[in-house]
Amino acid sequence: MTEIPTSRHSAFQVLTGLFSLPAGARIGAGPMIAAVVLVLIVLASILAPLYVPYDPLAMNAMARLRPPSDEFLLGTDPYGRDIFSRVMTGGRVSLLIGIGAAVVSVAVGLIIGLVAGFFRAADGIIMRIMDSLMAIPAILLAIALVALNGPSLGSVIIAITIPEVPRVVRLVRSVVLSAREEPYVEAAIALGSSMPKILIQHLMPNTLAPLIVQGTYICASAILIEAILSFLGAGVSTEVPTWGNIMAEGRSYFQLKPGLIFWPGLLLSLCILCINLLGDTARDLLDPRMKKREG
């Protein structure tokens, strides 16, 4: 007997499919290229210290703003530091910020969201607080937080994370709220499973797919926000090169020495492009509603 799969379980099929790529799963060339490019950028960034020609912090006041040459592949910045070395090394921290912000906000949001989704009593208060956090403009909050803690890597990640958490909480909560109406959850209640068990074993896995998607977006936007924070003078210290602060330092030179913005910008945009593309693909594949049309 053939059966048309309902949306619910196809989400799961696709999720397992995402990792094992069963026959028939169609992932276009775009996402494949994106994945390859992303992996290349990540590797190039992680391995940067092994191959960059200069210490990314070494200054040379007498060799400022040099044009690209054999000596300096992409030229030098206003401190006379090698742009190539800085850009390649800069990826490490930018990616760290992206991934860090994504992981932290997803983890924190997941916990709060599960609690809010499950404990009616806590829900009201938690959601009011989340609404409030969401209402505060992210950038302003970030500037204030960075001013509070000083612009260290950690505080930039925290500053980016805090406004993202409410979004994750809302997502998790809505998934929990709808999943808890599922017959299989009711069946679990009937089977005498305790609330924490239902929460963790039945409900939490449902949040995985949307969280993966959400995580990619947070990752991408964190890298961008880091750049904007640097632009506003509230970014990571210049001693720690990131794509964001390289661009911010180079912003005055946009017309005269576009390379200062172009190269980090290119890598940053490529990276975000790839992450977004993969996120979109994951979304198309994971979102049961997206599948409906084909199913």
Partner: protein, 561 residues
């Protein structure tokens, strides 16, 4: 029973399908979805297309409408000829011209088939605006006129209503009005009544017949309900796995089916006559429901809202090894009662006593030890198992919660698989790797694993094909016999109720209107509501399984031969 028996051979042929082949887009080598279909419908004829789920009924209708989802399905051969016009080669514009004028369609779900954000009158009128040059006021007049024809009340008001403000039956009437407003030659109806109550279904079937009479329309009617077929068909095609395996005039098909498949299909249709009562062993009561009340909602910050009285004053008992059925139309409160008993929701009043314990007031924590006495099987086999869990894990969840060691639970799970007639090695598979019927078996196994005293089955077979339905019902009986479980069986299908229940409770608008032994209630209903339910059951005079009229039915077999 009276069948339609008009001869159409002299009528004009409206639809002619020949050797139609539909397959997955871009994969001509794959197993086709429709394989060499032939179909003829003549003016005024009602042709029914029956067959199990997934046999290709809907795809046939969509192909005829030129509405196949382009990126998934495509016509790979054959022709569809609509009064001399070849549909398979038509351009989108030609197709658009054709639709609504010459060929129209009604879909199953009146709920979703109407655009929720547009007024229903506008939706009908849109057809006129698209295809005619009528002025605004003329179009509106025509619209109101057709709405009158489909017996909508208070058409002026309904005209400017949104779909959600109408009942299911009214919505389906709107769909019909929309389909027929331009007087098409062919009407395709894909399960137009499946989502409706029996009583509403009867009205809609009558309406279609009436409209057909009036306009001489040819109708291609898709259904899986043999009762409906018996009521309305002139001719029938039976589909299986993308082929038409048998076609015949209705009487011939019901009395003398040629194909095994057809025969099987008919045999699986449960009989509306109650089965003979089972001996009433003096068993103790497992479930006692006393003056149960449930009101949804109410309260609210600013105003006290009224709340829905979903169940009022419901009282009944079930003894071990017996089955009590609750029947009634949609929204009558059946599920509410079941969920109160299961304590998935908290009753607002009354008592529920399971295996001697009053559970309606217990807290979650206090309730926990009593959970193993009562289990439930839900309607939707796709959603009642966690798709991420293996069958084994689902089967062990309950016993482990009550302290059974893991390996013991696993051994027991394996036994249960045998009990529900599934291979042991299926334990490591995931729900999506099973068919709907198999999944429902797993759900039953999961419930039985707890060795409950009471099993609640809320529409447990309603989502299944008749043939599968029969198997699952059999399994339930078997399990009940073996473990002496008391069963609360909820259904809106009187045929099913007649075949499985010892006692029946009839609910309407949250209240019990009639209750008693199944035989008494179903063959000699006292309450007008029960009576109307039974009268509305399509094909109720026919004993499908035995290819003959029901004995003792008012109209005898052969009366209209």
């Amino acid at each position: 029973m009276e069948f339609k028996s008009k001869d159409f051979t002299d009528k004009q042929r409206v639809l002619k399908i020949r050797r139609l082949k539909v397959g997955l887009t871009g994969r001509p080598a794959a197993q086709p979805v429709l394989n060499e279909i032939d179909l003829d419908i003549r003016a005024g004829e009602t042709h029914c297309l029956v067959g199990e789920s997934g046999s290709g009924k809907s795809v046939t209708s969509l192909a005829t409408m030129g509405l196949l989802p382009k990126d998934a399905l495509e016509v790979q051969g054959g022709l569809i000829d609509l009064e001399g016009f070849e549909i398979t080669n038509a351009t989108p514009n030609q197709m658009r011209e054709l639709r609504a004028r010459r060929i129209a369609m009604i879909f199953q779900e009146p709920m979703t088939a109407l655009n929720p954000v547009l007024r229903v009158g506008e939706q009908i009128e849109e057809v006129l605006n698209m295809h005619t040059d009528l002025s605004q006021s003329e179009a509106k007049k025509r619209t109101l006129d057709i709405m009158e024809q489909v017996h909508l009340p208070d058409v002026e008001r309904v005209y400017s209503a949104f779909p959600h403000q109408l009942s299911g039956g009214q919505r389906q009437r709107i769909m019909i009005a929309m389909a027929l407003v331009l007087d098409p030659d062919l009407l395709i109806a894909d399960e137009p009544t499946t989502a409706l109550d029996v009583t509403t279904q009867l009205q809609i079937l009558k309406l279609i017949a009436e409209m057909q009479e009036r306009h001489g329309t040819a109708v291609l009617f898709i259904t899986h309900d043999m009762g409906v077929v018996a009521e309305i068909a002139d001719t029938v095609s039976v589909m299986q796995k993308g082929r038409i395996v048998e076609r015949a005039p209705i009487r011939e098909l019901l009395t003398n089916p040629q194909e095994d498949y057809t025969r099987k299909l008919l045999e699986a249709v449960p009989n509306l006559a109650p089965r003979p009562p089972r001996s009433e062993a003096a068993a103790e009561d497992v479930l006692t429901v006393d003056r149960l009340d449930k009101t949804y909602g109410g309260g609210g910050w600013f105003r006290k809202s009224e709340g829905v009285h979903a169940a009022q004053d419901v009282t009944f008992t079930i003894a071990a090894g017996r089955t009590l059925g609750i029947v009634g139309e949609s929204g009558s409160g059946k599920s509410t009662v079941a969920r109160c008993i299961m304590r998935l929701i908290d009753p607002t009043g009354g008592e529920v006593r399971v295996a001697g314990t009053e559970i309606s007031q217990l807290s979650r924590r206090q309730l926990q030890p009593h959970r193993k006495h009562l289990q439930i099987v839900f309607q939707d086999p796709y959603r009642s198992l966690n798709p991420r869990w293996t069958v084994a894990r689902s089967l062990c969840e309950g016993p482990i919660n009550f302290g059974t060691p893991k390996d013991e639970a696993m051994t027991r799970a394996a036994e249960l698989m045998e009990l529900v007639d599934l291979p042991r090695d299926a334990l490591d598979r995931y729900p999506h790797q099973f068919s709907g019927g198999q999944r429902q078996r797993i759900a039953i196994a999961r419930a039985v694993a707890m060795q409950p005293d009471l099993l609640v089955a809320d529409e447990a077979v309603s989502a299944l094909d008749v043939s599968v339905q029969a198997q699952v019902l059999e399994l339930l009986e078997d399990v009940q016999k073996r473990f002496g479980i008391a069963m609360l069986f909820i259904t809106h299908d009187l045929r099913v109720a007649a075949q499985i229940c010892d006692e029946v409770v009839v609910m309407q608008k949250g209240q019990v209107v009639e209750q008693g032994p199944a035989g008494a209630v179903l063959s000699d209903p006292r309450h007008p509501y029960t009576r109307s339910l039974i009268e509305a059951a399509p094909g109720r005079h026919w004993d499908f399984a035995n290819f003959r009229a029901l004995s003792g039915a008012p109209t005898a077999q052969g009366a209209t031969a």
